[in-house]
Assembly symmetry: D2
Homo-oligomer: 407 residues x 4
C-alpha cells in the first residue's frame, strides 16, 4: 500500500509530496514553519526581484529529491532500510533549520555560532520532543553513521541540498543557465564500498552541473550589488549592537532586541540550550526588516545612514580584484570618506570594508567526486574528465564603500 | 538612437527593461521601492510556498507588457505620441502604488480608503514632486483622457495588469494552467474609434485567457485555505484595533502602531494628505508579520489565539456554498464555539465569519470585450464566441470558523 | 516487482516507457514500425516546419498517457484487472495503425476504406499472429466490452488519443497555446456506473482543453495553406489514378503502383484481407513523396503542374466562408482557369475544389462530457459550465484554386 | 521603416523571420526547398523518435540567430554594412545546401565530394541565377573576405550553425541537457582586430555550451544504435552500387538510380556542374527510404538482409573502445559471421565494420575560442578557464556487426 502523503505545488518540480508521519509532523513544527520567513538567498532580490523564495521551500524541495535518490539507489540494489530512508530524509529536511535571519549574511553577526552547529542543536532538541526518533538522522547528519553515502546525500559534492538550491535559485532569479539536469544526475548515482559514486556515463551531466554552479556563483551569489547590500546589512546590525552595548539599544521587535542586548555563543547554548533556541526560533527576516526600516529615522547618524541606504536601495559600491588591494588605494578612499560632508562624521572605519569571497567554501572543502567506470573501478572525476575540477579554491578580494566617494 | 534602459532579470519574461528618465526615477522613489515588501497575493504562500512575489515585480512586469502593447499598436498605425506613451507607462507602473500590507486582504481593515483611491493620492503627490510630469498619466489613469483605449490598457478587460498578474501568479504558484499567451493577445489588440478591440483571429487566445483566469480564481485566489488565512489575518488586525481603541494598544512597529491608534479615512487624507501618505508609505508586510509574531504571547486570549494560528499555520476551516448558509447551521457552530474549552472565552462572535466571494468584482464590472471582425465591424465578443462571457457575476457564500469545532 | 520496460526519450513528456511483453512485441512488429514513416499531421509542415512527427510517436505517447490513466483510476478504487489494463493499452497503441500515407489526407483517395476500419482489420490479423491475445483489446476498441469507460479512454471526448495529439502537435508546431494540462485532466477522471466522468473541480481544466483544441483547429489543422496543400495532394493522386485507369500508370514505387492500378474497398479486403493488408502496410509517406517528386517531369500537363506546385510550395489559394459560395463567383473563377495560358489546358474542373470543413467531425459526433459533482450526481458538462460546449457542429465552406487566377 | 519579413513558427525560438528580398527568394528556390526532405540528424530518430527535423528548419534557425548576432554586434559599435549583413545571412542560410540524403551518413557513399564543396558549387550556381548578388556571401563563406569575424560567424567555434543545431537537436530529441543559452552567448560576442571574441563575463556560458555539446555527442550523435544504423545504411547503399556496377542495378527512384549507375566526383562536377547539380538536387531522403523499403524483397541476399534490418529496426550491434580492437577478436566475429546460417552467405567482409569516431572533427579542427578580458587583452580561453578545452581530439574505435553473432 502506497504511503499517504501531503501534496504541494512546487513550481520547480511540479509537485512535491511530504509523507505523513514524522516527516509531516516535523514540517508542522513551529521550528520548521519559521523557515517560511527566512529567504534562501538573503538580499539577492535587490538584483533579481523574483528571488524571494525561502529556506522552507528549499528544504521541501531537497526532501523531494532525496525521495527520488533513495528510490533510484534501491532500484539498483543498494539496501536502504525503512529506518535509514526516514533518517536521511529527516536529515535533509532539517539540514538548514539552524539558519537565522537572512541566512548566511548575518551568520556570526547576531550570534557567534554557525548555522550547521545550530541545526544540530535544533535536531537534538527535536529528538527529545519526538522521543528519540531523530537519533539515526542525527548520526547521518553528523557523518557518524557507518554508511557514509547517506551522509554524502545530505552533505557532499552532489548532495540533494545543492541539486535543489541550484535549480531553485535559477528558477526564482530567472538565470536560466543555472538549471541543471537533477533527475539525470540522481539516476547516475550509485554506491560502491559504502560511498557515493557517479556512473561514468553521467560525467557529462556532472560537468554541466559544475558549470551551472559557476555561472550561479558569478552571476548571482557573488554579484557585486548583492555582496554590497549584504555587507551593508552586516554593518547595520553591528552598529545596532554597538549602540546596545553602550546601553542605547535602538528600537527593535522583541525577538531581535534580545540578540542586540546579549552576546550569545557556543558557551551560552551549552548552558541554556532550550531557552536560547526558543529565543532564536522567534527571530526571522521580518524582525530585521521592520527594525532597519524604523532605524532610518534613528538619531545615530551612522545607523540611520546605513538603514536609509538599505531600504531605499542606495547601495555601496563594490570592487572585485584577483589580488589584495593596494594599501595606498584603500587609504585614499578612507580619507575621502573622512572628508565627505555627505557621510556621517567619525564613521570612516565603519564605511569601508575589505574582504574576500571564495567559492571553495561551497565546493571544494568537501571530498572529490568519484566516478565508477564502465569497467567497474572507482576513480576521481578529475582523472577522467577534461573539466577542471581539481580541488583548488578560487578567491577574489573585494573592497566596499559608499558610492558618494566613488570616483 | 535607442533609448538607454535599465535591464532586469524577470523569470516570467526573461528580461524586462526600464527606460532611464522619469520611469526609472519613479522606480527609484521610496514610495515605489516600498512595494518590494508587499506580496502580490497576500497569504497565498500558505498553500503555494513559492508565491512570495511582490507588487514591485508585478508593476515592472506590467510596464514591460505596456511597452510591447504600445509598440504593437504603433506598428498597426495607431498614433501614440511620446507623451502619451510615457503617460500610459507611468499609469501602469503606479496603478497599484496605493496597496498597503498584504494587498487586498487588509484593505478597509487598517484604513477606510480603497487602494485605487490611494494610488491616485500617491500619483498626485508624486506629480507635485516631479513638477507636473505625471499630469497626463493621471488623466489616463482616471479615464479622463480623450483616448479611452489608453485607460483600457491600464484598466480594462484585457489590460496589462491582468496579463501580467495571471502569468506571474501562475509562475510563482506553479499552477501551470494559469499561463496565458500574453504575447499573442497583445499582438491581436487594435484600436477602433478610440477604443480597444481584439482582432477576430485572436478570440481563441482570449477564450484561453478567460479559462486561465477562471482556473486561477478557483485554484488560487479563492482557494479555501487561502481565504481562511486571510480572514484570520483580518480578525487579528481588527482585534488589535479594538484593544487599541480601549487604550491597550498591543506592541507593534511604529508604522503599524500609528494605524492601530488612529482611524484614517477619506476625510483625514483630504485634510492631511502628505503627512498621512508618508505614514502609510512607511508600512508594509514586515510590520504586520513582526507584530503578529509578537502577539502570539499577548495576554489577550483572542489576539494570541489568532496570532498563534497564523504563525504556525493552524488555520480555520472554510466552507463554500452556492446558497446562503442555513441560519440554524450557523447558530449551531456559534454555540459549539461558545462551548469549546479550547477556544478563547467570550470570543464567539469574533470566531465565525460569514461572507461571500465573487469573481465579478475582478472581471465583469468592467465593459465587455469588443471584437473587430474580419469584415471590419466591431461586436461584443459574446455575440461571436461560444465561450460564456456574458457579463454576469458569480457568487459563492462562505463560512469560516475554527477547526476545533469542525465536525 | 516492477515490470521491465523499454524507456524512450519523448520531448513532450520527458520519457515514455513500453512494458516488455506483448506491447513491446507489437511495437517491434513491421506493421507498427511502418508508422515511423507516416506523418501525424500530413502536410502541416508546409506552414509549421517542425511538424514532422509521426503516428509512431503519437501512438507511443498515447500509450504513455493510458498507463497514467489506468494507474490514476486504480488509485481511486476503479477495479481494472491486469488483462483489462493490457487490453486498453493495446487498443490505444493500435488505434491508428490503419492510417495510410499522409494520414487523413489520402483517406478515401487511395483506397475506399476508412482508417478505423483498417485499424480493426490490422488488429484482427495481429490477433491471429499473437494467438488470440488481442481479443479483449478488440472488444474494447469496438466498444463491445461491458465496461464502456475503457472504450471511452480510447475513443471519447477526453480520450488519450486527443490528450496526446493536442500536446504533441502543439510541441512540434510551436503553437504554444495548444498545450493542455493533460496530467491534471487525467487526475480528474473517474468512473461512475461504468462510464467515464470528470470530477467537478476539473471542469476548468476541461474548459482549457476545449479552448486549446479550438486554437489548434483554426491555427493549425484548418490553416488555409495546410488545407490548400492537402487538397492539391488529393488532386495529384486522383490524376495519377485517372491516368492509371487509362492504362498510362505514371512511375511509382511498387507499393504505390499497386494502389494506382487497383480499386480496393471493403469488398476486396473482405475477400483477400491478408494479402491486401501486406500491400497496404508496404505503403507510406515516402512512396508518395518520391512519386510526386518524379511526376514533376511527367508528360501529363496536369499531373506535372500539380506535382511541381507541391514540391516547390507553389500552393493554391484557399478561401473560407461561413456560407456556401455564390455560384456566379465560382463560375467566374472556373472561367478564369479555363482562359489562363499559365495553367494546363482542359483542366478546369480539376483545378477548382469546393468543400467544407467542420470540427464537429472531430469533437461532437461523440457523446457529451459528463461531470461528477461534489454532491455525487452526474450531469452533462454543458449544464454547469459557462463554456459553450453544446453538441453542435461548426462548418466552414472553402473554395480552393490556383493562385494564378487569384485576383 | 522596418523591413517587411515573412514570419514562421519555430518551436525552438517562438518565431523566426525571413526578410523579403533575396533571402526570401533563396528560401523559395527549389534547391533550398529540397532541404525540407533532408533530415538534420539522419537516422537518429531510431533512438529519439522526435528527431525528424530537417536541414531546412536548421538553416532558417541559423539565419534567425545570425540576425541577432549582427544586431548585437552593431549595437556594440562593430560597423557592418547592409551588404555585409546580407552576405553573412546568405552564407549561413546556404551553408548546408550541399547536403545530400541523410546528411553526413551518405557523404562519400553516393558521390565522392563533400558537402561543403557542394554547398559552394550550389552557391556559385545560384550566384549566376541571381546575377552576382551572392558574390560577397561566397567570399564570406570561403573565408576570403577581409573581415574574418564574418566567416567565423558562419563557421567557427561559436558559429550560428552550432548554436542552432545544439538547441534544435536538443529540442527534437528531448535530451534537455543539450539546451544552451544561445542568446547570452550571442550577447557576449564582440570583435577585436577583425576577429570574433567572447567577453570575459561570458566564459561561463561558453563552458556550459561546451559541456552541452559533449553531452549531445555521447548521448545523441555517437549513440551506439544511431551509429550502427548509419553504418548499415552505408553498407546497403554500397551493396546497391556494387550490383549496379555489375549491371544489375536494383530498382530505385530515378533520382537515386542515376547515382547508383554513375560515379560522380570533383572531376565530373568540374565538367558538367549545372547538369549534375540538378541531378543531385532531385535527390533526397525519400528516394533512399523508398528504395531501401523495396529492396527488402530483392533477390540479392545481402541487399535484402540489410534493407529488411533497416526498415524493421533489426540493427547491428556496435561496440566502442578507447583502443583499437584486438585482431583476434575481430577475426573470431568474422568467422562467426561466415559460419552463421542466419546470415547471407559469402557476405562476411560486408557485415563487419571497423572504424573510429572522433568529436575533434566537429570541434577542434577550428581555431581556439578567444576571450577579451576585462582589461582589454585578447587571450585563448584555455588560458583563463578551468574547463578543458585544449585543442586535442578524442577518438573512439568501434566495431559493428550483426546481432545474430553477438555473444
Amino acid at each position: 500500500m502506497e504511503k499517504k502523503t501531503k501534496i504541494l505545488n512546487d513550481p520547480v518540480y511540479g509537485f512535491v509530496s511530504i509523507p505523513y508521519g514524522i516527516l509531516f509532523d516535523l514540517v508542522e513544527h513551529p521550528y520548521f514553519q519559521r523557515l517560511r520567513n527566512i529567504k534562501q538567498v538573503s538580499l539577492t532580490h535587490y538584483v533579481y526581484p523574483g528571488a524571494l523564495h525561502t529556506r522552507f521551500h528549499h528544504a521541501l524541495g531537497a526532501l523531494h529529491l532525496m525521495q527520488q535518490a533513495v528510490s533510484s539507489l534501491r532500484a539498483k540494489g543498494v539496501a536502504i532500510s525503512e529506518e535509514e530512508a526516514e533518517a536521511v530524509m529527516i536529515a535533509i529536511l532539517l539540514h538548514d533549520i539552524g539558519h537565522g535571519p537572512f541566512s548566511h549574511t548575518l551568520e556570526h553577526t547576531l550570534i557567534s555560532v554557525n548555522h550547521e552547529a545550530l541545526s544540530l542543536l535544533f535536531m537534538e532538541r527535536l529528538n527529545e520532543a519526538f522521543r528519540g526518533r531523530l537519533s539515526l538522522a542525527i548520526e547521518v547528519f553528523t557523518g557518524r553513521y557507518p554508511k557514509p553515502y547517506l551522509h554524502q546525500l545530505v552533505s557532499g559534492q552532489l548532495d540533494m541540498d545543492r541539486l535543489d538550491y541550484l535549480n531553485r535559485d535559477s528558477y526564482f532569479t530567472g538565470v536560466a543557465e543555472g538549471v541543471i539536469g537533477y533527475d539525470r544526475i540522481i539516476k547516475m548515482l550509485n554506491v560502491v564500498d559504502g560511498r557515493l559514486v557517479v556512473e561514468q556515463k553521467g560525467i557529462y551531466s556532472v560537468e554541466r552541473f559544475l558549470t551551472s554552479r559557476r555561472i550561479m556563483y558569478w552571476q548571482v551569489y557573488l554579484h557585486k550589488t548583492v555582496v554590497a547590500a549584504e555587507q551593508m546589512l552586516r554593518l547595520t546590525l553591528r552598529r545596532a549592537r554597538e549602540l546596545a552595548m553602550r546601553g542605547q539599544t535602538p528600537w527593535a521587535p522583541p525577538a531581535l532586541e534580545y540578540f542586540l542586548n546579549h552576546s550569545v555563543g557556543a558557551t551560552e547554548f551549552h548552558e541554556r540550550r532550550n531557552e536560547l533556541l526558543d529565543c532564536f526560533a522567534a527571530l526571522d527576516d521580518t524582525d530585521v526588516s521592520a527594525a532597519v526600516k524604523t532605524w532610518q529615522r534613528h538619531p545615530d547618524a551612522l545607523l540611520s545612514y546605513l538603514s536609509y541606504g538599505l531600504i531605499n536601495r542606495r547601495l555601496f559600491r563594490l570592487e572585485f580584484s584577483n589580488d589584495p588591494f593596494d594599501p595606498d588605494y584603500v587609504a585614499g578612499i578612507r580619507q575621502a570618506i573622512h572628508d565627505s560632508s555627505k557621510l556621517p562624521a567619525h564613521a570612516g572605519d565603519h564605511l569601508i570594508i575589505q574582504g574576500q569571497e571564495t567559492n571553495s567554501a561551497y565546493t571544494l572543502t568537501k571530498e572529490e567526486i568519484m566516478v565508477c567506470t564502465k569497467e567497474g573501478s572507482v576513480v576521481p572525476m578529475s582523472s577522467i574528465s577534461d573539466f577542471g575540477i581539481a580541488p583548488r579554491s578560487f578567491t577574489k578580494y573585494f573592497l566596499c564603500y559608499p558610492k558618494e566617494v566613488a570616483s
